[in-house]
Subunit: 395 residues, 2 copies
C-alpha cells in the first residue's frame, strides 16, 4: 500500500446551508459565474435563493445555464467565455455532477488560451494539464457523482463522440457547500441512478484495487450498506431529510479519496460506461447499473475472494471457503436485484442499446485509456474482446 492523498476542499454540510452561500462565496470573489443545468433549480426556487444570498453578501452574478446531463466541451467553452467577458472571479456550480464538472473545467479554461478540450484525457494523452483555476464552489442538488469534493471532471465531446476525464489539483473546489435539503426534490429515477453511481464509485476501488487494504474495504462496505439502506428510505419518501442527508454524505465520501486512498485501482466500469454515454447520451448512473453487474461476473472469476467478501459482508451470505465462486455470484445477483428493485435498468436493451456497435465501444474505451499492453486497466486488465463479452452478457 503506497499512495499520496491530498484534498484541501472545505466541506460545509448542513440542512439549510444554502443560506450561507453568499457569506462563503464573498470570501473568494465579488462576481460569480453561476453554472446550472436544466431548469430544475429555477423551478424549485433554489436558483433564486442562491442569487439572493449572494446579492446580500455583495456578490454579483452572471449565469451559464443549460449544462447538459453529459456536459459538453462546447458548453465549457461557452461558460469560460462568459466568465472572461464578465470579469468573474469565482465560479459556483449549482446542480448535479454535470454542472459541477462543467464548472470545474470552465474555471481552469478561464486561465488557458488554448481549447479546453486539451485538458481532457483522451486517446491516451492530454495536451495540457491545468495548473490554475478560478476558485470553485460546488453546491450539489443531487447525490451521485461526488464531484463536489474532488478534483475530477468528466466532459463529453459530441463532435468526436468522446467522453473522458480531467484530474488536476487546481480543480479541487475551495468549498463544497452541501445542503441535503436541495436533494429532496430529485425525482425517483434520478435518485436511484444516483445511488447506483455512489455504489459504483466504491466498488471500482474495492474490486480493482491492490490487495491488503482492510480499512479501505471496511470503509467501502460501510458506504455501500448505508447507500442501500438509506437509498431505499429516500426512494420511499423523497422528503425524508435524514435519508437524503445520509445518501448525500455517502456520495461525498464515495469519491473524495477517503475510501479509495491507497487502493490505486482502475475504473473499468466507469470507462466502459463513459463510452456508452458518449454514443448514446444516457444517464451515467443508469449506464453503470447495466455495466457493473455484468463486469462483476466477469471479474469474479479472476478474483473470487474479493467478491466472496462482498457477498458475505454486504449481503450476509455464507461462503463455503474464501474463493467460493457460487457465493460470489450469488452476491452479484443480489446486488443486481437491488438495482432492479430501485428502478435501475440492468440490461442494455432497457437503454435502447443493441449489439450493433459492441466492438466499436470496446475499441473506443481502450483507445481512451490503456496500459502498456493495450489493455483497459483494472483487475483483471481487459482486452477489447473482454469488453465485448461483458457488454454482450448485458444485452
Amino acid at each position: 500500500m503506497e499512495f499520496e492523498y491530498y484534498n484541501p476542499t472545505r466541506l460545509i454540510f448542513a440542512a439549510g446551508a444554502l443560506a450561507r452561500l453568499g457569506e462563503v462565496a464573498s470570501q473568494h470573489g465579488k462576481r460569480a459565474l453561476l453554472v446550472t443545468g436544466g431548469g430544475s433549480v429555477k423551478r424549485s426556487g433554489v436558483y433564486d435563493r442562491a442569487v439572493a444570498s449572494l446579492k446580500l453578501a455583495g456578490v454579483s452574478t452572471v449565469e451559464c445555464s443549460g449544462v447538459e446531463p453529459n456536459p459538453r466541451i462546447t458548453t465549457v467553452r461557452r461558460g469560460a467565455k462568459i466568465a472572461r467577458n464578465e470579469g468573474c472571479d469565482v465560479i459556483i456550480a449549482l446542480g448535479g455532477g454535470s454542472a459541477m464538472d462543467a464548472a470545474k473545467v470552465m474555471a481552469a479554461a478561464f486561465y488557458y488560451d488554448g481549447d479546453p478540450w486539451d485538458m481532457i484525457f483522451h486517446g491516451q494523452t492530454v495536451p495540457y494539464v491545468p495548473t490554475r483555476a478560478l476558485p470553485i464552489i460546488t453546491v450539489p442538488t443531487l447525490a451521485a457523482t461526488g464531484s463536489e469534493m474532488n478534483m475530477g471532471a468528466v466532459i463529453s465531446n459530441e463532435e468526436t463522440k468522446e467522453k473522458s476525464f480531467v484530474q488536476a489539483q487546481c480543480l479541487y473546489p475551495v468549498v463544497a457547500l452541501v445542503d441535503p435539503e436541495l436533494t429532496m426534490s430529485v425525482p425517483q429515477d434520478q435518485t436511484a441512478y444516483g445511488i447506483c453511481d455512489i455504489i459504483t464509485h466504491v466498488t471500482e476501488g474495492y474490486f480493482n484495487g491492490v490487495a491488503g487494504t482492510p480499512i479501505q474495504d471496511r470503509f467501502a462496505e460501510g458506504v455501500i450498506i448505508t447507500a442501500m439502506e438509506y437509498g431505499l428510505k429516500a426512494l420511499e419518501d423523497g422528503n425524508n431529510l435524514e435519508a437524503r442527508a445520509q445518501v448525500q454524505w455517502a456520495s461525498i465520501v464515495a469519491l473524495n479519496g477517503w475510501v479509495n486512498a491507497g487502493t490505486n485501482g482502475g475504473f473499468p466500469v466507469h470507462m466502459i460506461e463513459h463510452t456508452l454515454s458518449a454514443y448514446h447520451d444516457i444517464t451515467h448512473g443508469a449506464g453503470l447499473a447495466v455495466v457493473n453487474p455484468a463486469w462483476m461476473r466477469f471479474a469474479a472469476r479472476h478474483r473470487p475472494e474479493k467478491f466472496v467478501q462482498f457477498a458475505e459482508r454486504i449481503f450476509g451470505l455464507d461462503a463455503k471457503n474464501s474463493i467460493d465462486l457460487d457465493c460470489a455470484l450469488e452476491g452479484i445477483d443480489r446486488f443486481e436485484a437491488f438495482l432492479k428493485s430501485i428502478g435501475c435498468p440492468t440490461r442494455l436493451s432497457e437503454l435502447g442499446i443493441g449489439d450493433a456497435l459492441l466492438t466499436e465501444y470496446a475499441k473506443e474505451t481502450v483507445r481512451i485509456i490503456h496500459d502498456d499492453k493495450g489493455l483497459l486497466p483494472g483487475q483483471p486488465p481487459m482486452s477489447e474482446a473482454d469488453i465485448v463479452a461483458v457488454l454482450r452478457s448485458a444485452l
Copy 2:
C-alpha cells in the same frame, strides 16, 4: 448531522518514504528545526538518515531533542527559541505524538511574542488562538496519536500540573510523510499502548457523537476491527511490515477527521486521562486503557443501544434487543480483555495510582473543560461525582 470538515495536509504513505524527506522539505524551507524525542531515533539510525536526506536536498538542520513523552510547555518554549535564533523556516517532527505535538506548537510560537502556554485551552479559556505557523512536516515513528495529519496538539504544564490541547488550522502539517518501516523498532509495550490510543480516538466519537451517523459508525468499526486484527500481528512480529503499515494507517484515519466528521462529540475519556497523565506522567495510551472500559460501563447505562451495536459488530455478539445491557456489558468486557491480552494495564493500581486524589482529578478535568452546566462534555455529560465513580471503579 451538521458539520464542517477541512484538512489540507498532504499525506505521503509508503514504506521507505523517509528517503523522500529532503525532497519534500525543500519545497517548504531551507533550514529545518528537527524536533525529536528521546534517543530512539538516534539509536535506530532514523535521525541520521533524515539529516542525510535533508542535506542532499540542500536543507540544513538544527535540532531540538529531548521532547518528553508528555511534551512540556518548557520544551515548546525552548524549541521556538532555537527556531528563531537559528532562522529556521520549516519544522520537522521526527518521532511519536509528543515530538509532533511539540513541533506544532513551536511552529506557531515562532510567530507569537507572548508565552506559548497562551495557546493551550485550559481553565475553560484560551488567551490566544494561533493563526500563523511555520510549515510543519510530520514523520511519525510510532502509530498512535494520529497527530501526523490533524491540527491538534496536547501540551503539559509541569508547573501548574495541567495537560490540555490546542486546535488551530495553522497547525495542520503541510505534509505527513508516513513510512511504516520506521515503526518496526517500536517495543511491544509502546506498540500496545498505541493500539489502545488508536481505538480510543475512534470510540470517543462513536460513543459520544450525535445520533444518526451510520457511515461514521461503519468507518469507526472498520478502524477498530483492523487495529485489533493487525495490532495483534504487529505484536506477534514487530518486523511484520504489512501489519505495521495497517496499524499506522489506522492511526492516521482514526484522528484525521474522516471517522469523526459530523459526530460532533466530546472526548471525555481523553480529558480524564489527560488529568491523570498531568499528575502522574504515565503513557497516554496506557492511561486510556484504564479509563476507557471504566467509562464505557458508566456510559452504556445511558446509551445502551450504541454499546449493543459495538458488541455485535466488533465482537459478533447476539443481543436480545437493541438496548440489551447485558450484551453491551459483555462487549465492553471483551474489549477490556483484548486490551489486557496485548499487555495494556486496565486498573489504576497498575499505573501506580491510588484513590487519594480522585476528587482532585475530577475537579481538575472539569475545570479545564465543561459545558454551561459545569459538566464534562460527552454522552452523557459527566459531573465531578461521575468522574470519581468511574475512576473508583478502575482502582
